[in-house]
């Protein structure tokens, strides 16, 4: 894969002195303009990759917090075209690495080729498609390869023997799901993450980020001991959901705290 491929922007975001912080928000929550500002604020505060959720009517992998965000985005009449316009607006100011969290039917309906082409044009490095397991990946793989956009595989605590097949052709990064069930903040993560990540690392060279349930800097630091990065969704969406005057400041504060936790952890372990 050549270096100007969009997927490379994601992998490069892991080549830093600290562990990688990936922040999630839903496009258009609560409005198009606010989303653009939120993304720029997160980027400014050092968020390494921003994962943008495209709202969907049936987000089977998402819990109540992100479902509510989808509803707010629908109220703002966000469409797939609008999401691309939103990314274009971000790109005028920032080259922060981006990925989409999108359900397959949205991509299918938009047209696979058209969707991947626009991703490449806007340097969206990869897609996380929760309802596309590797067995069905042939659906979109030719387009992902043609445009150099990563299909970021999700590995579940139950993936077990499936891990080598799931991550075999991974580009960008691998999304390790910390807990069973849907997205949402959790106080406890019971999965043996070290073992899971080790199994993934054995099967692929691309970096591994852990997501689902992580919300505090302490948790992030702990999880980062075994992974290359952490993904935070619901905790960020909760800040956005309050829709206060100082939302942007709070987002920056949160991202800064997370980044700090991820770098201090690394320093300590050195």
């Amino acid at each position: 894969m050549t270096n100007n491929k969009p997927a490379t922007t994601l992998t490069n975001a892991f080549k830093k002195s600290s562990k990688t912080f990936i922040g999630f928000l839903t496009a258009g929550d609560p409005t198009f303009e606010k989303s653009v500002k939120q993304i720029l604020a997160l980027a400014e505060a050092g968020t390494d990759i921003i994962e943008i959720g495209i709202p969907f009517s049936d987000p089977v992998a998402d819990g109540p917090v992100i479902q509510a965000a989808d509803l707010r985005a629908f109220a703002a009449e966000i469409t797939t075209d609008k999401v691309f316009e939103l990314v274009a607006a971000v790109r005028q100011k920032s080259q922060v690495p981006l990925a989409f969290l999108v359900y397959l039917n949205n991509v299918f309906k938009y047209g696979y080729e058209k969707f991947f082409k626009r991703c490449a044009k806007l340097q969206v490095g990869g897609l996380i498609i929760p309802d596309l397991p590797f067995e069905e990946r042939a659906e979109v793989l030719p387009f992902a390869q043609k445009y150099g956009v990563a299909l970021i595989p999700l590995v579940a605590p139950t993936s077990g023997q499936r891990i080598p097949s799931v991550v075999k052709d991974a580009t960008g990064f691998v999304y390790a799901v910390s807990s069973m069930g849907v997205t949402g903040v959790r106080d406890q993560i019971n999965t043996d993450l070290a073992k899971m990540v080790a199994e993934i690392h054995q099967a692929t060279d691309v970096p591994v980020a852990i997501g689902f349930g992580i919300h505090t800097p302490q948790q992030a630091a702990r999880v980062a001991q075994v992974a290359d990065g952490v993904i935070v969704g619901s905790a960020i969406v909760k800040i956005i959901a309050q829709n206060k005057q100082q939302t942007l400041t709070e987002l920056k504060k949160y991202a800064t705290a997370m980044k700090k936790a991820l770098s201090s952890r690394l320093n300590k372990s050195k």
Binding site: D58, N105, F108, P133, E135, E136, T158, M180
Partner: protein, 396 residues
């Protein structure tokens, strides 16, 4: 595409479009199903319970009065309403619960919309001494209090699902999520021929008893195959069961009646085949009601069992292959058919099944008296009488 990636497809329809978290659960179910489906002992046990617990075979009944009334083809009714609990649902539930037992599970879960499948699962779980939890949209729990009480009476715990708009689709998601987290002791009894592989195939197999019997019965009574088989289509389990044995007989028209609700030109319908487009939802590629962004639209029908925006993948395949035909029936037409069958034959059909009767009302008069039509009466209508009374403006 390799052979393996095509497992679970009917042409381009079907598949297993689910998060990796659910994969392990589905793989276990598929492995058990493939192991036992042709096992003579399993089949023998299933046959025993279908006969002595559910009351099969159900009659294929010559509806003489309705035939006279419609003045066209000769009408037979496949009486699935006479199954224990009053619907075809138990055929599938018994099959899956026996499979769960073989897998060593002592607990079953199920989704339910109106409550029919939940009640059937709760009953069979009670019979086999298994723990049972039912996932039901919070909105449906409110609307179907009687069935919630029935499930409780049968010893099941009912979870009200508050996500989304609190209806069937949310219940399915909640059940899959619970299933993937409690794999060790739990089995998920899915209620229709929908969802990811192996459910559409498995539910079809268990419901095919309908057409296996009907084919034998019609050959015995008439010495020939019917000209048409008509069934209502929600997810499509009773219809695929009624079609299965006739799919390879091209002279038999296979006709599905779907719910047009307040009309296919209104937003309030569940006419997936008429208004839907191909999409990926509920773990499968099939026709589904969706907007221009690919978001799934809420469905509506007076009949809770047909109130579903998708359809089983094999039906989508049969539609595109032009092997089966699907037509929309409005609430109004269904209620008229509900009344008609009650008055002509003394049989009160479920509102779901009334859609099939209504389709017969449309085509039978244009047919020749020498022709034969089978209508699958998927369930009895006792559960629907108060709703029909309300629809007709009667106070009871």
């Amino acid at each position: 595409m390799t052979e393996q990636t095509k497992t679970g497809f009917f042409g381009e329809f079907g598949g297993q479009f689910v998060p990796d978290q659910v994969k392990e659960a589905l793989n276990q179910v598929a492995a058990a199903y493939n192991q036992f489906k042709d096992d003579p002992q399993f089949q023998q046990e299933l046959a025993y319970y279908l006969k002595d617990y559910s009351g099969r075979p159900t009659p294929l009944y010559f509806a003489e009065s309705l035939t006279k009334y419609l003045k066209g083809a000769k009408i037979y009714l496949k009486r699935e309403d006479l199954n224990h609990l009053g619907a075809h649902k138990l055929n599938n539930v018994l099959g899956q619960i026996l499979l769960a037992k073989r897998m060593g599970k002592n607990k079953v879960i199920a989704e339910t919309g109106a409550g029919q499948h939940g009640v059937a699962t709760a009953a069979a779980a009670a019979k086999f001494g298994m723990e049972c939890e039912i996932f039901m949209g919070a909105e449906d729990v409110e609307r179907q209090k009687l069935n919630v009480f029935r499930m409780n009476l049968l010893g099941a715990k009912v979870h009200a699902v508050h996500t989304g708009n609190g209806t069937l689709k949310n219940a399915v998601d909640a059940a899959f999520s619970y299933f993937s987290q409690h794999l060790a002791d739990t089995y998920y009894v899915l209620g229709s021929a929908v969802g990811p592989y192996p459910y559409p195939m498995m539910v079809k197999d268990f419901q095919s008893v309908i057409s296996r019997e009907a084919k034998k019965q019609i050959l015995k009574k008439e010495g020939r195959l019917p000209d048409a088989v008509i069934a209502c289509v929600g997810g499509g389990s009773n219809a695929i069961g009624a079609f299965a044995e006739f799919i390879s007989d091209p002279q038999v028209r296979l006709i599905g009646a779907e719910a047009a609700g307040k009309g296919v030109d209104t937003p309030e319908n569940a006419a997936t085949m008429t208004n839907g487009k191909i999409g990926i939802s509920d773990g499968m590629r099939s026709y589904v009601l969706q907007d221009d962004q690919g978001n799934i639209l809420p469905a509506y029908s007076i009949s809770a069992g047909l109130d579903y925006p998708g359809v089983g993948p094999e039906h989508s395949y049969l539609k595109d292959a032009k092997r089966a035909e699907y037509y929309p029936i409005t609430d109004q037409e269904a209620v008229a058919a509900f009344v008609l069958l009650s008055k002509t034959e003394g049989i009160i059909p479920a509102l779901e099944s009334s859609h099939a009767v209504a389709q017969a009302v449309k085509i039978v008069p244009k047919m020749d008296p020498k022709q034969i039509v089978i209508i699958n009466i998927s369930g009895r209508g006792d559960k629907d009488v108060s709703q029909v009374a309300r629809y007709l403006g009667r106070k009871i």
